[in-house]
Every structure is written in structure tokens, then in C-alpha cells.
């Protein structure tokens, strides 16, 4: 299907409402599509169905109380949100967290990234009619969630870490489970790769479907796998390394066309890179003495000095930034969250224009729009 972005939107079109409750919608998203047959003439996304006033909540909670709220942003990888927020507050306080805490954060965050990508790749398969890979991946995700559960009891909304470090050491189960788990994750990825990547139908359905140029992607503020799929090598872990990322040896996979296939494949490779990072971080972790501190010295009641900071990490979906303005009290004056989804979703109408309804769904899942993060 050739894209024709300049066609005037006139004439008799059928308006189809997809969402907020629709089997293919990930969370409560809604897209109002004007269609000509099955071709999308115009797609108007409507957001806000999951708006819970997260940023406003932040103004009424103390710095520590806000951590569980961040779980509910991108609920597929809550740990990444926790780390992003904690890192921002630590930057505001001007404290450096202990090495061991950093490594635990890296390990858990990369596990969360794998879990997030597994869900995204699996759901993309389901949306395109390939059901089986989803189960292979989800079983592995459950194993990862077991580690999370042993860490502090929660599987989905982890509330990981504290401001100034982490509250607990790596769980016992991690040491026994990880060597086996990384192989099973690789095997599941391999099976997904075999079932999908070179499948003729899969290739037809994904290659060249809503491609995006790197210029446009940068213009829209794309980050994360969606940007890397267009060919821009931008990864905060490499470009603005935090924790020990500059010491780890890992690749940043990039695509070429920014189409559904590239977004899918970039995610698939990133999982492998995350496994590598965890392995290296774990080796460094084992070199540390077992009684190394987990927390930096932090006052009981956190009252950062007046000022404002912006701090971002590379979350599974892209740059997840927290802007915090403090007025010197124990509650932030303002918290602004920069979720990667929000920027990516802006381009959605342009991406799907001229495509078919089936591609809209594929596009949405490959962008990995998470309503919790989008609406906040």
C-alpha cells in the first residue's frame, strides 16, 4: 500500500472507533479512525482514559511515598520507573549511592527490560495472529517475576529500591536461578526468532509497514527501540552513561527503516544485550564484599535543597525522565514525568495514515504504547 499523505480528507468515510475497550488495545487507548474500505484515511488517537493524576499526586506525597506511584507508569517494567525516579531524587540531593546498590539496580533494571520486551514482542505476535511465541516468552517472564517476587514480594508493581540505594541485597533465588534462566530466555527468544523472523507471512506483515525516517523520528522526540529502529544510535546507557554502563561491553542494535519489523527485531536483540549486561554486572557484584553497604547516608526525612533537576534513564521504552522542582520542603513542588510513550504516540496518526486497519494494530503494538505511562 502506497502512502498518500497529501490526500484531502473529504468524502464518505466510515468512522470506526477502536478502543478504549478492544481486544487489540493495550490498556485503555482509543483511536477514532476514518476509513475508506479498510484503509485508514485519518486516525485520531484520544488519550487520557487512564489519567490518574500521577504528577499531581507527587506534589502531595513525600519523596519516599512517591516511589510506589511510579510503579504504575509503565507497569510492564515497574523497576525501571522506580530507578528513574530514585536516580532523579538522588541527583537533587547530590548523593552518590554505593557501588553495590548501583549494580543491584542495573541487574534488576535489565531484568525488567527483558520482561518488558518479552511482553511487547509476544503481544505483537498475538496481534498479527501468531499466538504461540507469546506463551514461550511469557513463561520466561514469569520466571523473571519470580526473582522480583523473592526480592520484595511483588511481581508486577515492585516498588524497588529506596532513595539513596536499595533496601535489600539480591535475593538468594537469583544466584541459583540466573545461570539457568539466561539460557531459557535465550531459547525462548530463539524459538520466537525461528517462528517469526523469517516466516514469509510475518515478513509480509511487518517489513515496510509504517516505516519512519530518522529525521521525523527525532523531530517527534522518539527515544528507545522505536528511535533505534529508524537507524539512530541513541541509547542513554551509552551516550550519557550512569551507574556502570560505560564499563559494560554491549551493543546498541539499530534498524534501518523504522518499520514494524525493525522495531520487533531491535527489541529481540536488546534482550540478548541485556543478558550480557546482567552477566557483567553480576561478575562485578560478586567481586564486592558481601557486607558492602546498600544505602548511602540519607536523612530520615528527605528535604532536598531548593532547586530543580532533570534526570533520565534508558527505560525499556526509551528515555524516561523525571523533572523535579523542590522548594525545600519534604514534598516536591512539582514532578514532571517525561514518558517515552507520549512522544512516540504523537506520531501515531502519521504512521498509520494510508495503512490498513490490520496494520494499525501491528503499529500500535510495535510502538509498545503503555497507557499507564502515556496518561500518567
Amino acid at each position: 500500500m502506497a502512502k498518500n499523505n497529501n490526500a484531502p480528507i473529504t468524502g464518505d468515510y466510515v468512522t470506526i472507533n477502536i478502543g478504549p475497550s478492544h481486544p487489540a488495545m493495550h490498556g485503555t487507548l482509543r483511536v477514532v479512525c476514518k476509513t475508506d474500505g479498510e484503509t485508514i484515511v485519518e486516525a485520531i488517537p484520544e488519550i487520557g482514559y487512564l489519567h490518574r493524576g500521577v504528577e499531581k499526586l507527587g506534589e502531595n506525597l513525600t519523596y519516599h511515598q512517591f516511589i510506589p506511584i511510579t510503579d504504575r507508569l509503565n507497569y510492564c517494567s515497574a523497576i525501571a520507573n522506580n530507578v528513574a525516579y530514585e536516580k532523579a531524587v538522588e541527583k537533587l540531593l547530590g548523593i552518590e549511592i554505593p557501588e553495590k546498590a548501583k549494580l543491584i539496580r542495573v541487574i534488576m533494571k535489565e531484568l525488567a527490560r527483558i520482561a518488558d520486551h518479552q511482553v511487547c514482542v509476544g503481544i505483537l505476535g498475538v496481534d498479527l495472529g501468531a499466538f504461540t511465541p507469546f506463551f514461550y516468552l511469557i513463561i520466561q517472564r514469569e520466571e523473571i517475576y519470580d526473582i522480583f517476587e523473592w526480592y520484595n514480594g511483588a511481581r508486577l508493581t515492585n516498588t524497588f529500591g529506596r532513595i539513596g540505594g536499595v533496601n535489600a541485597d539480591l535475593p538468594e533465588i537469583f544466584h541459583t536461578k540466573w545461570p539457568k534462566l539466561k539460557d531459557t530466555i535465550r531459547k525462548a527468544n530463539d524459538e520466537t526468532d525461528k517462528l517469526l523472523t523469517h516466516n514469509r507471512i510475518w515478513m509480509d506483515r511487518t517489513i515496510g509497514v509504517n516505516p519512519f525516517s530518522p529525521e521525523d523520528a527525532l523531530e517527534y522526540g522518539f527515544t528507545g527501540p522505536c528511535l533505534r529502529a529508524t537507524g539512530v544510535k541513541r541509547d542513554l546507557r551509552k551516550d550519557e552513561p550512569y551507574y556502570f554502563y560505560n564499563q559494560f561491553d554491549f551493543e546498541v542494535p539499530v534498524g534501518k527503516h523504522g518499520d514494524v519489523f525493525d522495531r520487533y527485531y531491535v527489541r529481540l536483540i536488546e534482550m540478548e544485550e541485556s543478558i550480557k549486561i546482567i552477566d557483567q554486572a553480576y561478575t562485578m557484584y560478586k567481586e564486592l564484599p558481601p557486607d558492602a553497604p546498600l544505602m548511602a547516608k540519607v536523612p530520615k526525612i528527605i528535604k532536598p535543597p531548593e532547586g530543580e533537576i532533570y534526570s533520565a534513564i534508558e527505560s525499556p521504552n526509551g528515555e524516561l525522565g523525571f523533572f523535579i522542582k523542590s522548594d525545600g520542603t519534604d514534598k516536591p513542588y512539582r514532578i514532571k514525568i517525561r514518558p517515552p510513550c507520549y512522544m512516540v504516540y504523537q506520531a501515531f496518526p502519521e504512521l498509520v495514515k494510508g495503512e490498513m486497519i490490520a496494520d494499525t494494530i501491528a503499529c500500535l503494538s510495535s510502538l509498545n504504547i503503555i497507557a499507564g505511562e502515556l496518561d500518567r
Partner: protein
């Protein structure tokens, strides 16, 4: 016994048998997919969850029957019937075994040996699309209409290669009767190959199996219902047994198509190199031929399930592209080569 009593028994038997197989297939599909996906599947109702289809049936029958207010009442009710009825009737001309000799009376294991059996199956297969289109249209729901539209688009792209691949079989065997085609597949040709359709029509079989999947609305051609795109397609608004008829009709369709594959390409009830009628009694031969036929059919039924849980779904313009740009030219080439071979050898 009068002939019509025998005919009635055969009708009742094949009707019950088809229902039973279709019911079992829902169980096989769910357990089979579970097996492939590291799950358990339904395992609570009865041994191995075998009564699950029964439980589903009871559930569907006792659900409230809702007709949406804005729906076209007549078309809405007609849709599922038009879909299920041809599916149930199509098996009438397909054999399910060779023959049974009881008390010196020969009973052919086929409800009706119509001399245009072929056309009957193709015609009824095409009829089912009316059920989908009318159901989709009558529902007065945009997703349903899209489902119906996709179904028509799919029909015009697969029905032609479907017919053309069957035509090549007709050329090979020189008859439209499915029983005669089955009988003709006994023995060997070229000295070593079983006299099966697959060896005479390899390309034709591939074309047939691809179009058969489209005919059965199964993945990768399940676009009319594509649950992740258009909710449930043509049966979005349906509930209770009306939905049941659609779901059930699909499995009956699958059974018919699988039986057709066996009849046309896999030697019907014949075993390769072995002539069962020579060393089996008349009754046991009848039963053996039925079993052989059924086991072959069961393999193709399993293949339907297997493919369903392996591959992704086509987009609907891709189905049309595949139909018009690949399948029809190939079917024509196949027909041409078949005709040429027959012309040269006869």
C-alpha cells in the same frame, strides 16, 4: 432391508459422526494448542477434559439469545443457519469408506454417490460465505461488516484456484464422482508409486491445501474474524447457540475439507501397496476401510490445528495478492501441464 432404510441409517450415521468429530475437534484444538504452548488446556471436565465440548455446548444453549436492537432481524437469524447448513450437508457426497457387505447386500459407505459430487461440494463451500456476509451485514456493526467484506474479498481470491486445482483432478480421473475417483486410486503406477492423487497432482495438492485453509477461514486466512483486529469480525454481535453454529460450522467445514483432501489426493481408503479387500472378510473390510479413511482424515484435521498455532495471519490485500498473483497462475499452469500430460499419454 429396503434401500431407503439403509440410506436413512447412513444419513443418521454420518450426521452424528460429523457432529461427534466436530465436537471432538474443539477439544483437540484446545488441548493441542495447549500442548504446543506449554500449557495444560481444559483438563477438568471428564477424563482429559474430554467432556469440555459438552460443557461448552450446554453453556451455549443456555445463554440468553440476544438480537441487537438495530440489527436486521431476519438476516441476523439467517446468517448462522446459512453458514452451518451447507457445512453439514457437504459431507453427503464424500465417501467415508469403501463398502460393507451384510447378508449378501452391498452397502456403499457414502450417503449419495452423485455423479457431480465434485460440483456439489464446491457449490456448498461457496454457499457458506453467504452466512458470513449476511451475518456480518445483518449485525449492523462496523466490525461485523468489515468481517463480512473481508470474507467476500477472500472468497473471490481463493475460490478460483480452489476450483481450478480440483479441475485438474477431474482431468486426471475423468469423472466428477468422488467414489469413482476413490476407486481409481487403488494400486500403483510407474511400478512403484501408490496410485494416489498426490503423486499425480503434487502442485495441485499444494494449491488445494492452501485454498482449503482459506475456505475453512482458518489461520493464516482467518481474516473475517481476526480477533485482534476487528474484535470477532462477522460474529461480534452473536451470542448463545447462534455463535455456536458459526464456531461449530467451522469445524464441520474442516472435517469436510480434510475428508476431501484424503479422497482426492491420499487414496481415500486405500493403503499403499496393500489391498485390504483380499485378506479381510466383507464386514471387517468395510470397517477397516472406514478406519483407514478416518485416520488419514484425522491427520489432516490435526494439520489444521498445527498450522493454526504456528503461523501469523495475512492481511486481506495480501490474501488477494496471493490468490490472484500466485495461486491462480499456478493453478492454470498446473491445469495446462495436466492436460498436456494426459494428451500425450492417452
Amino acid at each position: 432391508m429396503d434401500n431407503w432404510v439403509i440410506a436413512l441409517i447412513k444419513v443418521v450415521f454420518i450426521w452424528t459422526w460429523t457432529l461427534l468429530i466436530a465436537t471432538l475437534m474443539t477439544w483437540v484444538e484446545r488441548r493441542g494448542s495447549a500442548m504446543m504452548q506449554d500449557r495444560l488446556g481444559p483438563n477438568r471436565a471428564g477424563p482429559f477434559g474430554l467432556f469440555q465440548p459438552l460443557a461448552d455446548g450446554i453453556k451455549l444453549f443456555t445463554k440468553e439469545d440476544i438480537i441487537p436492537e438495530k440489527a436486521h432481524k431476519i438476516l441476523f437469524s439467517l446468517g448462522p443457519i446459512l453458514f452451518a447448513l451447507p457445512a453439514f450437508s457437504a459431507y453427503a457426497v464424500i465417501p467415508f469408506g469403501d463398502k460393507l457387505v451384510v447378508n449378501g447386500k452391498e452397502i456403499i459407505l457414502q450417503v449419495a454417490d452423485v455423479n457431480v459430487g465434485f460440483l456439489y461440494v464446491v457449490a456448498l463451500g461457496a454457499m457458506a460465505v453467504y452466512g458470513i456476509v449476511l451475518g456480518g451485514w445483518g449485525s449492523n456493526n462496523k466490525y461485523s461488516i468489515l468481517g463480512g467484506l473481508r470474507s467476500t474479498a477472500q472468497l473471490i481470491s481463493y475460490e478460483v484456484p480452489f476450483g481450478l486445482s480440483l479441475l485438474a483432478v477431474v482431468l486426471v480421473y475423468g469423472t466428477f464422482s468422488l467414489r469413482e475417483i476413490s476407486l481409481a486410486q487403488q494400486g500403483t503406477f510407474l511400478g512403484f508409486l501408490p496410485n494416489w492423487g498426490i503423486f499425480k497432482q503434487p502442485l495441485g495438492f499444494i494449491l488445494f491445501i492452501v485454498t482449503a485453509y482459506a475456505e475453512a477461514n482458518r489461520v493464516p486466512f482467518d481474516l473475517p474474524e481476526a480477533e485482534s483486529e476487528i474484535v470477532a469480525g462477522y460474529h461480534t454481535e452473536y451470542g448463545s447457540m447462534r455463535l455456536g453454529l458459526y464456531l461449530f460450522g467451522e469445524y464441520v467445514n474442516m472435517y469436510t475439507l480434510a475428508a476431501l483432501m484424503v479422497t482426492l489426493y491420499f487414496g481415500a481408503w486405500h493403503l499403499p501397496y496393500i489391498d485390504m479387500s483380499k485378506f479381510l472378510g466383507p464386514v471387517s473390510y468395510g470397517i477397516a476401510s472406514f478406519l483407514v479413511f478416518f485416520l488419514k482424515t484425522a491427520f489432516f484435521l490435526w494439520l489444521f490445528v498445527w498450522v493454526r498455532w504456528t503461523v501469523p495471519r495475512f492481511r486481506y490485500d495480501q490474501v488477494m495478492g496471493l490468490g490472484w498473483k500466485a495461486l491462480i497462475p499456478l493453478a492454470l499452469v498446473n491445469l495446462f501441464i495436466t492436460a498436456l500430460c494426459i494428451q500425450l499419454t492417452v
